[in-house]
Symmetry: C2
Subunit: 211 residues, 2 copies
């Protein structure tokens, strides 16, 4: 079966370790995956390169991309736009790579609506207790901020039922393997192999008539 | 997350090697899988034991099982009934085993209708050509019989679009691993983890209120 890439949206509770998992997944399977690169209007920080961490664009350029429908999804945080350019994603998918988008639940659901074949994956800690401990353990935030984050996690969790898979980040290695197995398995979904099925049916039909 | 077993229906083209794959899968992962045992009214052959190859029942006993709704599905071939007793399947699922039913497409779709969480898997050869060659290669059937089998395969293939996964049996080892990865991944489906999601949501909600 021809392998066409799958668009994968990964979201997760803050503190679930999503970033580390994705980094590890890409390091372990560089030939399988590509990370989508976002466009943003925020200024590059020291060491950041256009086309690597982000596509850096002016506000005018970004709004032109919106107008031309060149973004899969976009959102505005504080003063800046962040969005996913479709061209880069399409190129990677056509090359047979599974493309990972790290975005929040609201954006994820918009992407799924536009591209129903998108795979939605949610990363969670093994328990709420563990998630709380990880946030507390960072030691960088006071209890009020942590409570606000936990409150935000509750809001986010309202959308999980619309996701396809939930993976638990207990052991990093195990979690990475689990995600890779899920994506590999998804390539065998009937809905992703309709062409193959139609072809084998036509050929069998020919043979059964003695062709 | 608590692991509850998944009911898996496996169908496939004759000549696709389904039987060999299932045997290998059960040998490799005896702690993961159980094969459903069918009930039948046909007489045991030499070496067959009640409760191992089949549950051997009289016609009266079988019809009583039908009447009492004790069968997940059943069908009549030639003179005999064949069916899947629900009790055995339920016991294995409750014990956390993934239970494999080897049945045809029509039976498979009935099971899925009754139990929407059932996983439907279809086993195919890599191509129609290969499937034909495997049937010819057996050397036990004349061309007319093979054409009839291929015609039957075309009919069967009409239902594949209702299946969840299609796996290609090219290399036995690879195919067994693929099936095991698919089933393992299915345990991470959101729809199979609703209790976990609700629990973590409630706990997070408590924490965010300072409980």
């Amino acid at each position: 079966m021809a392998k066409k890439g799958i668009l994968i949206v990964v979201s997760g509770f803050s503190g679930a370790g999503k970033g580390t998992i994705m980094k590890q997944l890409l390091q372990q399977y560089p030939e399988h995956y590509a990370l989508s690169i976002s466009a943003t209007t925020r200024k590059p920080r020291t060491g950041e390169t256009d086309g690597v961490e982000y596509f850096f664009r002016t506000r005018e350029q970004f709004e032109e991309m919106i107008a031309k429908g060149e973004l899969i999804e976009y959102a505005q945080y504080v003063e800046n736009y962040y969005g996913t350019p479709q061209a880069y994603v399409n190129d990677q998918l056509a090359a047979g790579k599974d493309v990972i988008l790290e975005i929040e639940i609201q954006g994820a659901l918009k992407v799924k609506e536009k591209f129903p074949q998108t795979l939605l994956m949610f990363v969670s800690a093994p328990s709420a207790e563990e998630l709380k401990n990880r946030l507390v353990g960072r030691g960088t935030e006071d209890m009020d901020t942590i409570r606000a984050r936990l409150g935000r996690a509750v809001e986010e969790s309202q959308g999980i039922e619309n996701y396809d898979y939930i993976v638990i980040n207990d052991m990093l290695e195990k979690c990475v393997e689990e995600i890779h197995a899920i994506v590999s398995s998804e390539h065998s979904r009937v809905s992703r192999n309709i062409n193959f099925i139609q072809q084998i049916r036509e050929e069998l039909s020919g043979f059964s008539k003695g062709e």
